[in-house]
């Protein structure tokens, strides 16, 4: 029997009289990776922000493991639904401070070994005491990922985690995240602009256009819909 970790029903968000996203429905099985694609302003980030409850839906519902997320305490929900933002937005001072931040909010102090293990996962072993000011873009992106993973989320939301990186670094981080998702069996939603990246990653695809669902299906959608190639860049 397949279990759906996430179910989204008729989800919509309106802001200042404009629908940013409307009538979005999909479900995501545990352990699967869904790629969300769409042109700028199509509502991709809005969708992730609602799943993490940084924004409130104007219509519809989101069920996490069968439970409406509005009935869950926001802090507990956000720990379970981890989000890696487009920009790392690291906190001062050290890398280790960032890794410890999430667990510390619920009174859990990560040991030095825990921090090192998480940093090793993202290829930054020995970086714990380094100041965040001395990190490159790629290193900051890795710290941001490790910081989210420290909360042991059930669902991982990745908002264009490689968008700010150059091509080579982007491929490196993509391979790293994809490997981690596969090894740990994470359920994840990954926003990307790159069709080729989507093809490499996706098990399930949601195409958005002007805030609406244009198509929902398997990776074959990316092969069929030739208009995607022109629109996503």
């Amino acid at each position: 029997m397949t279990t759906h970790l996430l179910e989204v029903r008729d989800l919509g968000r309106q802001s200042e009289g404009t629908w940013l996203l409307r009538e979005i429905s999909f479900s995501l099985q545990t352990g699967k990776l869904m790629v969300v694609m769409g042109p700028s302003g199509s509502g991709k980030s809005t969708l992730l922000r609602m799943l993490n409850r940084l924004d409130e839906p104007s219509s519809g519902s989101i069920l996490l493991d069968g439970v409406d997320i509005t009935t869950l305490p926001p802090q507990s929900l956000r720990r379970r639904v981890g989000m890696v933002m487009q920009s790392p937005h690291l906190f001062p001072e050290t890398v280790a401070d960032n890794i410890r931040f999430g667990p510390l909010q619920r009174g859990k102090q990560l040991s030095d070994e825990d921090v090192e293990r998480l940093l090793s996962q993202v290829g930054l072993a020995g970086f714990g005491e380094r100041s965040i000011k001395k990190l490159s873009g790629g290193e900051a992106a890795r710290v941001s990922l490790a910081r989210t993973l420290a909360n042991e989320p059930e669902l991982l939301l990745l908002d264009e985690p490689t968008a700010a990186l150059d091509e080579a670094m982007s491929r490196e981080i993509e391979a790293l995240i994809a490997g981690l998702l596969q090894e740990n069996g994470y359920t994840a939603i990954w926003i990307t602009h790159h069709v080729e990246q989507a093809k490499r990653l996706a098990e399930q695809v949601l195409l958005l256009d002007q805030g609406r669902c244009k198509a929902l299906g398997g990776v074959e959608l990316l092969q069929q819909d030739s208009s995607i190639h022109g629109k996503m860049g």
Partner: protein, 259 residues
Amino acid sequence: MIHYITQDPLWVRIFQASGTMLLVFLALFVAHRFGIKLLREGGLALLRGLLQVVGVGLLLVAVFRGPSWLAPIVLLCMMGIGTQIASSRVHKLPRTRTIIFSSILLSVGVSLVLTLALGIIETRSTAMIPIGSMMIANAMNTISLALERLQGEIKSHTGQIEAALSLGASPAQAIAPMIQTAVQASLIPRIDTMRSLGIVWIPGLMTGMLLGGEDPLRSALYQFVIVALILGVGAFASLSAVLMLRPALFNQAEQLLEN
């Protein structure tokens, strides 16, 4: 030079005020030539200040001669006007008027009651009103600085606040660094005042006491009491304002509201 023209003390003061205003206008005009557009705002503030202080002088004559219960009413009015001025600087933040008034009332009220009870300040109107007004003005400035800084910090660190929320932090935890920065920044001028007291400047109250023939040591100690009080009131006012504002920056779902 003024004394050659008139010996009337009131006219002497009017000449002094006019001379000072000319000096300020000259400074504002020079600044204007360098593209610093303060001529209108600065000029209006100067005229407003003159009219207000003369008005208050006339009012105080009546208050000092009247019953003692008039003093708290005058102070409450000053708090109301202080609230209006401070809130105009941070009008985009929610519930600012209520928060600023409550913070001034709380910080000045508690400090006044304590200092009156301990006998640090005398209960007569001639002591309570000028010292109370200094507390109110400084509370107003400190709150204004704190809220303005907090507004700026939130704007420039929205991503960091939301990153903290997305990791399961409570609103209070997510915004704690911005609150600390805002309160610290608001108190820097007060701390600098305390550090430079007597060395860089001799404040108005002490100057007035010295000119009035008071003993320098007693004047100095009294001035210290007032500056220390102002620092204490400022710290209390600034902290209470940002803490009162904090819940209004987030909604029930612990989402950061746009400000």
